[in-house]
Symmetry: C2
Subunit: 430 residues, 2 copies
């Protein structure tokens, strides 16, 4: 096995020529991956069985064993994903700005790949295929580190992807698999060679990554999402949205963890909401005022991501207090208000400092596919670069290209020439 440093150097070097790949070349390479996965499905399933047997032998938790399974259905699903990725517009080479600085001196801001992306993910082998194809579509080289429990599956998948794409004209070294835990620590140090880290995994894991590298990190540690029921909420809508936000799928980051409700309506509305949630087997934890209205447990901590059938309940005096609570205890992921009053809704959406803010709909909508991005790289709670659900455009940056015919700055400094700064119409959107 090459060292992490050697793999990262190879990735860096490949990344420079990947910036110039045509959309056709990248889409052909994606098709080659899809075909190779389909052709080699028996081999993949066989390798996956080795991981599954080992997982059973070592007594890996059942939910983790399930996530590890990579059978023909799963292969068909990732192949479909690749086909849908091929139909998406190339995120590279888009003109974002055009300015005529002077006659014959034209400035363009144009998207380009970021370079080398380090991806660290847990057991699901689907994630490897998905993230590798996203990186390729955006022209980035990829260093992948998967869970050791999926070692056999990850190895065969990486081999298949590497050989199919290199045959299709992508420079060798663009994709590498890192295998050991110490490789991660090594990787986090290579801020000269790796441009962005995307961690996918538990809160503690993402937090660890964020605090142990100078490389920018795209992701979110946790999703402490709120639903705020304002005094002018329609009660039936409030029940529907709170139940969906909490229970539609409890184990995900955009599920609601805290219910905020206005003091003026809590005595009437909280019992209705509590009943509806308890019918769905949700255990409630409330503040003192909430507990005076409906019997429930006390709250340990307001910044708490249950990822389970449990929910915190806090009675607030108004929108101002609700927004302040969210900005203090939330994670900047997704927060919703339910109200019939537009002015309050708009104020809430402005006051709450989160990647997604919603009015009269479920927090569960916060997702790259539901948002129509066609692909999801991750959800970011950072405010820098990409925020909220991140599509392909989170995998590109831009550069300025300035086209002249001999202009020097001295002519402008001396006042012999003057900048015009006229906008240049951009290339038609493809």
């Amino acid at each position: 096995m090459p060292t992490v440093f050697v793999s990262a150097q190879a990735a860096k070097s490949a990344s420079f020529s990947m910036a110039g790949l045509s959309s056709d070349c990248k889409n052909n390479a994606l098709k080659a991956i899809a075909d190779a996965l389909t052709d080699n499905r028996n081999k993949i399933v066989e390798e996956n069985k080795k991981d599954l047997a080992e997982a059973e032998r070592t007594g890996l938790a059942i939910p983790l064993q399930k996530r590890l399974l990579f059978d023909e259905d799963k292969i068909r699903a990732v192949v479909e994903g690749i086909y849908s990725l091929m139909t998406l517009r190339d995120p590279v080479g888009r003109q974002l700005l055009g300015t005529e600085m002077d006659e014959g001196l034209s400035l363009y801001r144009e998207t380009c790949p970021i370079g080398v992306i380090g991806i660290i993910f847990e057991s699901r082998p689907d994630a490897l295929v998905q993230i590798a194809s996203l990186c390729l579509k955006a022209g980035n080289a990829a260093l992948l580190k998967g869970g050791s429990e999926a070692a056999h599956t990850n190895r065969i998948l990486t081999e298949i992807i590497a050989s199919a794409t290199i045959e299709a004209g992508i420079p060798g070294g663009w994709i590498s698999l890192l295998e050991s835990r110490s490789d991660v620590a090594e990787m986090l140090k290579l801020d000269d060679l790796i441009d962005l880290i995307i961690p996918r995994g538990s809160n503690a894991f993402v937090q660890y990554i964020m605090q142990n590298t100078a490389i920018p990190v795209l992701g979110h540690a946790d999703g402490v999402c709120h639903v705020y029921v304002h005094e002018k909420a329609d009660p039936a809508m409030a029940v529907r949205l709170v139940v969906d936000s909490k229970t539609q799928y409890v184990a995900v980051c955009n599920a609601a963890e805290t219910l905020l409700i206005d003091e003026s309506v809590a005595p009437v509305l909280l019992p209705v909401l509590a009943k509806a949630l308890e019918e769905k087997h949700v255990i409630l934890h409330g503040c003192e005022k909430a507990r005076a209205i409906w019997p429930m447990a006390d709250v340990d901590e307001w910044h708490h991501e249950y990822l389970d059938y449990e929910m915190s309940v806090h009675v607030v005096s108004d929108e101002k207090e609700a927004a302040a609570h969210i900005n203090k205890y939330g994670s900047g992921h997704t927060d919703a208000i339910i109200t019939g009053d537009e002015e309050t809704a708009l104020r809430f959406m402005q006051d709450v400092d989160s990647g997604s803010v919603m009015w009269n709909c479920s927090t569960r909508f916060s997702d790259g596919f539901k948002y129509g991005f066609g692909a999801e790289v991750g959800i970011s709670t950072s405010k820098i670069h990409a925020r909220g659900p991140v599509g392909l455009e989170g995998l590109v940056t831009y550069k300025y290209k300035l086209f002249g015919n001999g202009q020097i700055v001295e002519d402008y400094a001396a006042g012999r020439k003057h900048f015009t700064h006229r906008p240049i119409p951009l290339k038609d959107e493809k």
Copy 2:
């Protein structure tokens, strides 16, 4: 003096309400700053004289003493800067994307302030006024740390700005001055309260900041910029552009530090270029091949920012070697090619992984004002968030706003409803 933590908390709390400030309110506050600076010019000059006297007493280097001077002319210049900032479009509240996810379920991506910006700058008091007004225009709270040699001037400027803006309706605590060196270390730890750090100063200083905080940093440590003279360069243009890139202003980050020249034309063209540079008192340091053509010193290190009348010279075999040299030894700031061949120029501009890449013009053009941004926050060599010269838009981020009328995810998961994902026309550009 309040502690850094207390100031940062006040800034964070102010930042939440600053997100909702109207453009008029922010422009009125900017006008109030301009008026207050003009009205208090005598007081400012008086305080500045204390700093100047202290600088003379302690024997501060003459160039630093010059940068410290803040007289009526300088005050007039910053006031003009504020007036021009008022005419720029508000960067906040711009719709970047609109998608109808389904009937009555509308998604918008909208710009909003970043939050709290920490700015660390060296002696020039103009920088304080400029960066504070940029932050205000973009709706951000600001923590400022200036050089201790400008303590009196910075203090009076901050007082004037704070009281003028608070009278104009900006929330108190939005701007604070930090005074001691230990305050910087303290500030770099507050990644919960500060969203972005902008350091302005020497390479070593910026490098130190970048390596000692988990807060994202906008800036550049150094500018090792290259001019590459391709074999199809027009000789007269090459001389003009190399001389301007190197000597138009040597002490700045976009001045060229290294000349790359094709082997095939070096025997004829390098002597012409060398002579032109030496006439401008530039000392040359060359590789072995360069030294065989023209007498010059050896090169110590290719990643060298002279910021002076000195330049490295490297003879290369072709565009490929030139781009590889730049990607290895450059700083990702600004690099130019001089050639009559379009295909080579386009390949160079794609291969070179820098914030600004140029064809047939001077590297000195890489600048926010020259690019027509109206204001410059800084130049970024990071690939994440803002890259290259950064205008006001580098001081904003975005959030997603989703407007519904009771939609739940379960309806879509169960197949009862389907996403439409139709683009919504955006609000007219103001």
